[in-house]
Amino acid sequence: MALLEIENLVVEFETASGPFRAVNGVSMKVHEGEVLAIVGESGSGKSVSMLAAMGLLPWTAKVTADKLTFNGRDLLGMPANERRKIIGKDIAMIFQEPVASLNPCFTVGFQIEEVLRVHMGLDKAARRKRAIELFQAVGIPDPAERLNSYPHQMSGGQCQRVMIAIAIACNPKLLIADEPTTALDVTIQKQILDLLMKLQADHGMGLIMITHNMGVVAETADRVVVQYKGRKMEEADVLTLFANPKSNYTRALLAALPDNATGDRLPTISELFVDDQVEGAAR
């Protein structure tokens, strides 16, 4: 059975210039122990669809779906307090800006222990012990010492490690990483990606990797969903996607990578891909 199952998800925002459809009929499944990458450029609705699944969108958003289940349980019809019990425990999320995702007023130790207290109900000593274990697991040196640090005393890469530690604190079944390395330098990106892959393999979690970077996709994913303007353009396993892309959009996206440049000029997406049908539908 699929861990997260989404069928025909539609998200609309109420704006000054009328309703805006950010996600337009997206369907996907994530299985246990699988790494799914959602790729797309800005405005493709890749983050919004995951936030909608988590119920984290502001009230101006209207979310509808034929099916939105986690572990067989319907997320949309569920009362808010039950949904909160699942989110943060069984589904965890990490974000692009690690420094901004941590509360600057509290030590990182307090923040991780709070998660353990709320979701796991551990006592004080057990929480401390588990927090140190988690910091070790994500590769933070001097874990006992670092628990007393404030977010601003740590680097971006360290903060992202703390975020990951908080995310895996309750042994989630599914981890959603929204551009987890975009704000980081390449050498740090490599470390964080390696860490995520190791944790994913060790715990057998499902991992959803939201990214715009084809390199990150190639280095992490098992299966890939390509999104464009709120629609799913293609879904394939990672090798097929790179070796033999079916959709014109994916082909154009790969051709625009400077790595793959053959001549003097880079082929651009508009040369290779005309989005008439998508444009018409989105209007």
């Binding site: 970077n213 190639a218 280095e219 996206l253 400077p258 790595d259 082929p267 651009t268 997406i269």
Partner: protein, 275 residues
């Protein structure tokens, strides 16, 4: 070939004033960097955040003064700390910033943004200014009808084109490009890189291209300088640097860059299966 830009042992220190709990200290952002760029060529400065590449870019653009060292533009020394920055010198170097959303004044129309450098620096009459702005607007792939619009009506890629057009208004010799495509989507990135290449050919422009993205650098650069904690740890032609990196940091950087080719994916999947 004539050398457009030469830097000799550029140093930039920041003085961080102390308070009653902290002692005052000096941060060395750039520690003695030297290089030359020839006319019509592109020098890429690569490095991660905090390595001093943007500080160096601001020094080259004559925004901030260097603490010590010499900067020569077309063979003439410039030192803005001494206040010998003439308008002619100013016109020779222009800059394009990383974030296209912050680099255009939101309260100015595109036309005013483009003509402002001419208004300030020259006595060009209004209709000539307008003509020149229109020409460049078309040259960067926009249309005349965009002249009277405001920046917020454009996408990131279009704004970056406008920023490039503005930089070219004064006919500069040297363009400092500070991560010009980092904030852009992949498809737009390709368009802007193509545009930069076309403009370089047409106007014989010299580029200093500051970036953290090795794949972009490999595509656009003639020469590459790798910076690490304020020092230039590697400096050479593109093929030299990419084929045979000398410094260990350069090697780390190459190893960390994700690869998006089929062989690497196949190898990774095989490793995963084996594990």
């Amino acid at each position: 070939m004539s050398v457009i830009l030469e830097a000799r042992n550029i140093v930039r220190d920041y003085h961080v004033p102390g308070s009653f709990l902290k002692k005052a200290k000096t941060v060395h952002a750039v520690k003695g960097v030297s290089f030359q760029v020839e006319k019509g060529k592109t020098l890429a400065i690569v490095g991660e955040s905090g390595c001093g590449k943007s500080t160096l870019g601001r020094i080259l653009t004559l925004i901030d003064p260097a603490t010590s060292g010499e900067l020569l533009i077309e063979g003439k020394t410039v030192d803005i700390a001494k206040g010998d920055l003439t308008p002619e010198m100013r016109r020779k170097v222009q800059i394009v910033f990383q974030n296209p959303y912050g680099s255009l004044n939101p309260r100015q129309k595109i036309g005013d943004i483009l003509t402002e450098p001419l208004v300030i620096n020259t006595k060009t009459p209004a209709d000539e200014r307008r003509d020149r702005a229109m020409t460049l607007l078309k040259k960067v792939g926009l249309e005349e009808k965009h002249y009277n619009r405001y920046p917020h009506m454009f996408s990131g890629g279009q704004r970056q084109r406008i920023a490039i057009a503005r930089a070219l208004m004064l006919n500069p010799k040297l363009l400092v490009l500070d991560e010009p495509v980092s904030a852009l989507d992949l498809s737009v990135q390709a368009q802007v890189l193509n545009l930069l290449a076309d403009l370089q050919d047409e106007f014989q422009l010299t580029y200093v291209f500051i970036s953290h993205d090795l794949s972009v650098v490999r595509y656009i650069a003639d020469e590459v300088m790798v910076m690490y904690f304020g020092e230039a740890v590697e400096y050479g032609s593109r093929d030299e640097v990419f084929a045979d990196p000398k410094h260990s940091y350069t090697k780390t950087l190459f190893a960390a860059t994700p690869r998006a080719d089929v062989e690497s994916i196949r190898a990774r999947l095989a490793r995963k299966k084996a594990a």
